[in-house]
């Protein structure tokens, strides 16, 4: 527990240092209006890896708005997080990248109330900058001469990939089935694959090294993201504050900027 706090403090220090460029003015303004009775302490958020950038940003904003509040994140694959939660890991909020893993948590009686879908994601084709292999659409995933990555069928982005391939009638010939979407994206960034099927948000997060190609069949596998506070939350006030921020107009705007779409 103690080392957890130290880690959280360290993480907060790093985030503050990293984010000091743009946030100073806003932080000063919002600290002034922060209510004295607001949430304090540490909020622990277990969130799907695809939420890393936008949740880190929102957590920073929440800390700026509430003196004495620290937001600590555990970003990982949704199924790993669900396993950790059912094994008793202490957390206040769980944001899953799919309904199945949320169901694991609600079925175990760990959620406080009904989870709500707060955002959604669709697949995109990620290609290295400049698209050297000239990939144009989903049909290119059937080409033998390209080096292609998809997610493994065991993980959510792989299941979604199977859905769009089935809908499009494409027999995919991937060279590798990646263990998660970031691993697939890394291979695009390194230029080691010609294309990978990842989420639209991953393409945004990757910046200039990666280009995204939207394709119509993606509508057949829209991934909803549910979110809940946990019944055994050590910091229920902080948990509510974080969930409220995510669902507010400000939170939704941040999500859209990161490539997510409204649910």
């Amino acid at each position: 527990m103690r080392s957890g706090r130290v880690l959280a403090a360290l993480a907060a220090a790093v985030l503050t240092a990293a984010g000091c460029g743009g946030g100073d003015d806003g932080a000063a303004a919002s600290t002034a209006e922060a209510s004295p009775g607001g949430p304090t302490g540490t909020v622990t958020v277990f969130a799907a890896a695809s939420l890393t950038d936008v949740f880190t940003d929102l957590g920073q904003r929440l800390e700026d708005d509430h003196d004495g509040l620290t937001v600590q994140f555990n970003f990982a694959g949704s199924s790993a997080l669900a396993t950790q939660l059912t094994q008793g890991a202490p957390a206040d909020v769980f944001a899953s990248a799919n309904g199945t893993q949320m169901a694991v948590v609600t079925d175990a009686g760990l959620a406080d109330g009904e989870p709500a879908v707060f955002t959604a994601n669709v697949l995109q084709i990620a290609v290295p900058a400049g698209n050297p292999a000239g990939v144009t659409g989903l049909a290119d995933f059937g080409r033998e001469d390209l080096t292609l990555a998809v997610c493994a069928p065991e993980v959510p982005c792989g299941a979604a990939a199977e859905d769009v391939f089935a809908a499009a009638g494409v027999t995919a010939r991937p060279d590798t089935q990646e263990e998660d979407v970031r691993a697939a994206l890394t291979k695009v960034e390194l230029g080691e694959v010609d294309a990978a099927l990842v989420y639209a948000t991953d393409v945004v997060a990757a910046g200039d090294a990666v280009e995204g190609i939207a394709f119509p069949e993606a509508e057949d596998a829209v991934t909803d993201y549910p979110l809940c506070t946990l019944a055994a939350a050590p910091n229920p006030d902080g948990a509510r504050a974080f969930v409220d921020l995510v669902r507010s107009a400000e939170g939704q705007q941040a999500l859209e900027a990161a490539g997510f779409r409204a649910p």
């Binding site: 080096t147 493994a152 993980v155 263990e179 691993a183 890394t186 291979k187 390194l190 080691e192």
Partner: protein
Amino acid sequence: MRRERTPAPLLVPATLAVAFLVLPLAGLLVRTPWTQLGTLLTAPGVGQALRLSLLSATLATAVSVVLGVPLAWVLARSRARGRAVLRALVTVPLVLPPVVGGVALFLVLGRQGIVGSWLAGTTGVTIPFTTAAVVIAETFVAMPFLVISVEGALRAADARYEDAAATLGADRWTTFRRVTLPLVAPGVAAGAVLCWARALGEFGATITFAGNFPGTTQTMPLAVYLALQRDPQAAIVLSLVLLLVSVATLLLLRDRWLGRGGAAG
């Protein structure tokens, strides 16, 4: 070797160590779904992943022995300057997170890599996402275990035998082959076992550099990790299979190489 009663100050921590190392294994055994064992074991892909694991770990060990034993000799015996720096450098894979090792391999051997792009340009051969990439990733991570082990054996070996061989007119290569190598054979065997075990369990560098595809690059640890995403029970069974096969192999080799109940392992 002399055998004696274990003194109490050693016995207590030794017992704790055994408990610490063996209890997680017992945990696996307790949670194994014995009734579904048959179905889970015969699931498609299990035998394939196991075969690939054993093959690639064995090849990685062979490469490690061929390259690592000479390196260990250089570290232990040569008069070359900068040996301390060299030793630190070659043990880097021990401390490097394996996933980082995988990315590093891309930067050298990937199709955009320093050597890899030249290879792809001249021969059309690309290494990533092939079984060869699995062997390379495993060798990268596991070879330092062999090098450290053999270097230790070389340092502990009595150099007077080598001096005697030289006095009797053997050149340095003959001395190495006929005197040094037999002298440190138990150390080489122990290092090879360590190296093989590490290669067999290798995950991070393999999944990064070789990717994951059933039949070509999906080894048992990768299969276990992915099974864990969907079906934890299947993952436990797969882990158990990997464990049993590796322990059985090690016991078998121990008998072969070192004689029954051999002391030098």
